[in-house]
Structure formats: C-alpha cells, structure tokens
Symmetry: C2
Subunit: 309 residues, 2 copies
C-alpha cells in the first residue's frame, strides 16, 4: 500500500493535530497506557525497573525498509519486530517503547491507521506498552523510529563480544532471500530463543542477523581469529543459494558462539525439546587468523548490506 | 550552515559505514560509554535505576527546526535541549539518551561532525551519556530524533493535570520571537528550575512551552475552567508583542499552576533567592468557564503552532 494520497482531505494534514492524537490513542488501544504512564504529558512515567535495563533504537524508512507492496499494518509490526530482534539477541524481554514519526503531510490517514493498528497488534502480542511518541513533518519522508526498553529475561545478557578461538558458530532459522520471500516483514523475532540461549552458560556471544552473515559475523569474531564457515552447512531458505544466505540481510535470525568442548549433540537435543519447529544449525567455528581449514568459505568474497551507500 | 555538500567525497556516503561509526565515537568522546553500556552491540545496557523513570522523545527536522542559518553544533545541542526541557517540565533529571538519524547521503561530513560535537558538548554539560543510536538513509531528509530517559530529581514528578479553579498561573523567562531572536537554539533548558518547582507542594501542574502559550495552556486548564491571562503581565522578549508571546512557540519556558491561597510574595522571594537571574511572572489564574474577568485575554483569538499543517 502506498503511504501517500493525492486527495487532500484523506491526508494526515487534513486531520489536524488534535484529531490525529485522538485517533492515534484509539488505534493504539490498550497498548497506550493512561497519562502520565503514556502519551499526553511532557514525558511518560515508567514504573520502577529491577536490575539492569536494555535499550535499542531502530527505524523503518520508506522506501528502504518497506515499499508500496508492503501492507501498512506489516510496516508497523516490522518496526517493533526489528527492535524486538535486537532485544532477543542479548537475551532480553521488552518493557516499553516510544515512537518518533517523520511524515510527509500527504501521507494518507488510511495508511497511518494501518501502520498504528499493525504496531498495536504486535505490541499486544509481545506485551509492549507504547508510552510516548512524536510526529514531525518532513516533505517526501515516511520514517518511523522506535526506541525499545527491555530487561534481561534471565540472570544475564549476552553481548557480541566473548567468543574465543575454537568456539563453534550456530544460527537459527533459514537465511537468504528475505526481501523477495517477504520474510523481512513476516518474520518472528527470536525472543523466546534468545532468552533460552542466554540461560545456557556455554553461549558466549550472540547477535541478530540484519546485514547478512558475511558482514555481521565480524562483530562476533574475536581478535586474532577468523570465522571458518562451512557453506554446505548453511541453512538456506528454499530457492536461495549460499551467496543469498551470506549477503541478503534482514534475516532477523540469531547467530551465536558456543564454547569449545560443549557436547554438540546434547545441545542440539535440548534445543529441539525447547523449540521443535525452529531449525538450529552448526555452521562453523572460530579459528586462528590465517588458518582457515580447507573448504571454509572466503568471506571477503561476500559483502553484506552497507548502510549509507 | 547547510547540511548538504555537492562534493561527493565530502559526503557521509563517501565515508562508508565502518569509518562513520568510528568517527561518531570520536566526536561523541566521553559521553559515549564503552560497549555494552554504549554504542556497539544489539542493545545498550543501562545500569539499574532506582524508582520511577521518565521518558520523552523529540526530533529536530530540516528545515522545520533548523535551517542553513543555524550552526551545525547548535542543531545537535538543540536536539538534546528540547528533550531536557520536556524532562524539566516534570521535575526530572536526565540519565541516558539514544539517537536516531535519518540522513540524505549528500549530507556533508563537516555538518555531521558539527552536529555530533554540539550534541556531545551539551550532553557533557548536563551529564547525559549517549548510549545508542542508528543512522538510516532517506533522500532529501535531515532528521534526528532523540529519546531521553530520566528520573525524578526529587520525591515527585509534576504532571500537566492537577490544576484547579482559583490556582494562579506563572511563567519563567520571557516569551515571543524565539525564531528571529535565535532563542529557539540558544535557550537554556529549565532543569534546575523544574526540579525546584517540583519540590514545592503548591505547584500543582506544570509543562514547558513549545507551541505558544495560547495553545499550550489548554493542556494545563482543568475541566470546566478557563485560563484568565492578563496581557499586561506577560513577560515579553524585548522587541516582541503580546501576540508573539502567545503564539510564536519554541519558548522552552516553564508554565505552572500554583495552588490558590499560596502567599505569592513569599513564593516570589524564595524563587529570587534560588534563581536570581531567571524572571518569574504571575500571568493570571484559572477561573470557571464563561466567567473570564474584565481585561483577561480572549485566547481563542490567538493560535499557536499547529503540527502537520
């Protein structure tokens, strides 16, 4: 669905600010807490939080993260799910979110309603109150940025750093073809999986895949090490090849390092008991730099998504 | 300063993502905490917070909130100060911030450096760590949105609701002409003042002025009441009139309701001891609707800033 309308009276600009805010409250429904715990004051008040918090911010921008082929409701859901995926990657659970929109005045009321209703449905599903927001005008722009607050789901969070040489590399789900397969907005953020993995002491480092494995894996790779990935072990989405799995981006799957010496079969069995329908695949390991084993992929031949290019 | 460059090699796009992130860390300097407490992982980890938190989100968008006449450093500082003003309006103090940028690829590296250095200097001044961020591309856009977390500076926060008929209305600083006088980016957020006011039990409701007093005061006005404002009492910025004071917007001053029966002179004396250089002016009171006293301004004749028009 196109975010824009040519009919002035169907635009958000025609609504006026007061009516728009009233509609937003209605579209958000029960995920919009009452003032001062939600929209309507200078700040929103958050209940006291126990322990460390997690915070992340990620946008959806037209036409980079969605285009006219993506339903408006799916855009709203994607915005929250992208951020939930970041939280999942540290073993977190969500607690609250705020939303900043930058909109062309010709954005249609219908598109905006779909966006908010999709966001609200997803927020309801994951129990995320939308406590604040802002809408600014910018010609030619349809951009939404969500800041998500969370807490550790268990006793610890898992950072990107912490892997060591000899650790094995694992990935959830299937990779590649995210855009043509519509996975980039139909995906399920791996919150339960991330929380489970964070409870396994042998999981030393973890992240979510957004720019393609070939690029993202560098952030997990310890100093002086290289990622030896077995191309034949990559879990490919049906119809897509190794190059797609390495470079397409927007997989929103988890990749993590498992401590050397962990019983791989036992780990896999426990995973299958916890998540019988989510594939988990060992795809390689970290070796000393310059000592890539025969058959390992040369990742320098693959380029993931480059921002601002 | 214009955010854009026509020289491709001086654009942010020419930098590439990795170099840009390294530069951002350098520009932010000490306000960018180390991973995982700052930029560089899927989420940033926040230290445990005691008590209720406050959260707000506000943007600066080109050319609405800044234009080529505003120095890049001032744009970065304005972004943080707008959010600090929201926090001040509830009696809060800042604890952490995350930043989302939406940039045209032709934005110049020089402008972006100025923006970040201005933001960092302001963040240093107010003790606000910048713990996370995101940069997305959007043609024709220069927009930055900041989410600010805070805590109550004292034992309570002050909401917009809570005023009663008979309460008097007060405003800090001077109003009007924010754009031509450059006040819209040179202002000082009223953090200390907001914290002090929140400690006064007689302060029943408070907000900051962003869209002009004539519009904003409705949010403080209790049901069945009207704001009776004495035009001659309004603290005018030199060179600007009552209309400017009521409608120009971007004043970033505090307006609050003081409980009926409070000793006004004693309150003023205590204020002057605490803030000898910040004007404080009683500008009217809340009366029953339809019972505006003679001489009170008819606010319906004045319109504040309307968003998305």
């Amino acid at each position: 669905m196109s975010p824009f309308t040519r009919i002035a009276r169907e635009s958000v600009a025609a609504l006026g600010e007061e009516r728009l805010i009233a509609l937003i409250r209605r579209w958000l429904g029960q995920v919009s807490p009452r003032t001062p715990f939600g929209i309507g004051d200078d700040c929103a008040v958050l209940p006291a939080a126990k322990g460390r918090q997690l915070i992340t911010v990620d946008p959806v921008v037209y036409p980079r993260h969605f285009n006219d082929a993506v339903p408006a409701r799916a855009v709203g859901a994607k915005l929250l799910k992208r951020n939930l995926s970041d939280l999942a990657a540290m073993g977190g659970r969500p607690t609250a979110a705020v939303l900043a929109l930058t909109l062309d005045p010709r954005v249609s009321r219908r598109w905006l309603e779909g966006f908010y209703r999709g966001l609200a449905a997803c927020a309801r599903q994951y129990g995320v109150p939308i406590v604040g927001g802002d809408i600014a005008q910018s010609n030619g722009t349809v951009a939404a940025s969500l800041t998500l607050l969370g807490a550790c789901a268990g006793p610890r969070f898992v950072a990107r750093t912490g892997a060591r040489i000899g650790d094995t590399l694992w990935v959830t789900g299937r990779l590649g073809g995210s855009l043509p397969s519509r996975h980039h907005y139909t995906f399920t953020p791996r919150l339960a999986e991330g929380a489970w993995l964070a409870r396994q002491a042998a999981v030393r480092a973890m992240m979510d895949l957004s720019d393609g494995l070939a690029k993202d894996v560098h952030a997990l790779t310890p100093r002086g090490a290289a990622a030896a990935i077995d191309g034949s072990a990559l879990p490919l989405r049906r119809g897509y090849d190794v190059r797609a799995a390495l470079t397409d981006g927007e997989d929103y799957e988890l990749v993590f390092a498992l401590a050397r010496g962990t019983d791989r079969d036992a780990f896999q069995r426990r995973w299958r008991r916890a998540f019988p329908r989510v594939p988990l695949r060992g795809i390689g390991r970290f070796t000393a730099k310059g000592k890539l084993p025969q058959g390992a992929l040369d990742l320098t031949a693959f380029h993931g998504y480059e921002h601002l290019k």
